[in-house]
Amino acid sequence: MNDTELDDLLDQWTAPAPSPDLRNSLRTTFAGLQAATVPTRAPRNWQLTLVTGARRALLAAAVVVVGVFLFSVAQALSQTPPSGRIPYTVESEYRLYEEGGTPAVAMVTTSYMAQDGAETVLSRSMPGSQLGTLLGRKLDLLLPVWQRMITPFVAPPNALKPYQKAKTAGFHSVLVIPGCADENCLLLQKWSFPKGPGRTGTSTCMDAKVVGVETILGHPTTAVQTNFRPNRLTMWLAPDLGCFPLRINSEQMRPDGSFRVWQSKEALKITMNP
């Protein structure tokens, strides 16, 4: 048999077409994800692409000009204390793991779970980086304001519709901060998940698979896992602290199918009625 004959034979094996439902199913899932995820995290690739090559100089100039303006706005904003009583605060450490290396502390935060189910950072610092700490704090204050300002102009109505619809329908979510969105921790990852319906095998804190229970710093937690292959998040949520995540492991799948932790959060200290 020569090569042409083999090719002709191989061509006899045709693959079927995918079902039209595949596109619809993906579309529905996409809309659901948009509804469940508060679009606060700028994609990492966007950030990296933006700061390459000749754009760097332009960006630097723009940052200086805009930075001066925003810094003064942040100064004003930072004078405003968070409204409502804070029932507790949790001091947490965020670590980054190199493959096969020892973890490095990337950030330390003091936060709590607000009544709307969103983890709220009161303060944070990046060990060994005073400038990073300063910039990070200012960005925490400014980004939500900035986001509210620009969202109506940059987000197409069809992208916002599912989110707004879910909000109107009384959609309850839990917003957690698994770690940093960039290497310098200037931006925080913020991920929102649906509240748990209390079905068997799920947590009342979050609609996700329960993988264990553990007491951390004297508070019972339920460990839940969300699987976004190739990524996986395991969160230890404390119901008596408003579902605050006392520990979070962010894992990524290796080519061989096993997972490695690349980022983690660990509560170090809980202060009640601060």
Binding site: L9, W13, P18, L22, T29, G257
Partner: protein, 178 residues
């Protein structure tokens, strides 16, 4: 702004554009690797959703999106195969003949070719499918499989040699050779 960035920012039209551009070859690849259209659809869906998730490893400066997606499909299929092997060890090609996969093996010859390809070792089968059915250049296959181009070439040669041997009877039997 490219389609992936737009999709990550919540634009459904951009996400569907990515899907429309890439899903067919990915589905065919998954389908031929798994032997099941349903499994292939799951894999493809997972593959596109993975692009939106935090920590997605895709780096446009290192590889094209198509190459990355082929790699994700391959890893997903391998993972499923490992899970399947753990659940029901000893599942063979013959026992799979009556499974849903056989529904799309329409002719006898098609079935014979499909079986012959599936009987190749995993490492040869994926190279052959990417090279013959998806017409990927050897360099791109090497990126998808994280191999040297030389290794891809030799696996492809071995796969084709094996298939020539396995399918020899069918060529003459079907009067394809004068």
């Amino acid at each position: 702004m490219d389609a992936l960035q737009a999709a990550r920012q919540g634009r459904e039209d951009a996400f569907l554009q990515l899907f429309d551009e890439h899903h067919l070859p990915l589905f065919r690849f998954a389908c031929r690797l798994t032997g099941s259209a349903a499994d292939a659809e799951d894999v493809v869906q997972e593959c596109f959703l993975g692009l939106l998730r935090p920590g997605c490893a895709y780096d446009p400066e290192r590889t094209s999106l198509r190459t990355y997606l082929f790699g994700v499909v391959r890893n997903q299929v391998l993972k499923r195969q490992r899970q399947h092997a753990r659940i029901s060890p000893g599942v063979s090609e013959t026992s799979a003949a009556g499974s849903p996969e056989s529904q799309f093996l329409r002719s006898e010859l098609e079935g014979v070719v499909a079986r012959a390809v599936r009987e190749l070792p995993d490492t040869q089968r994926e190279v052959l499918i990417l090279a013959h059915y998806e017409q990927l250049p050897l360099a791109e296959i090497a990126q998808v499989l994280e191999l040297e181009v030389g290794a891809v070439k030799s696996r492809l040669q071995r796969a084709r040699a094996q298939l020539k041997e396995t399918l020899a009877a069918y060529t003459t039997g079907h009067g394809r050779k004068s």
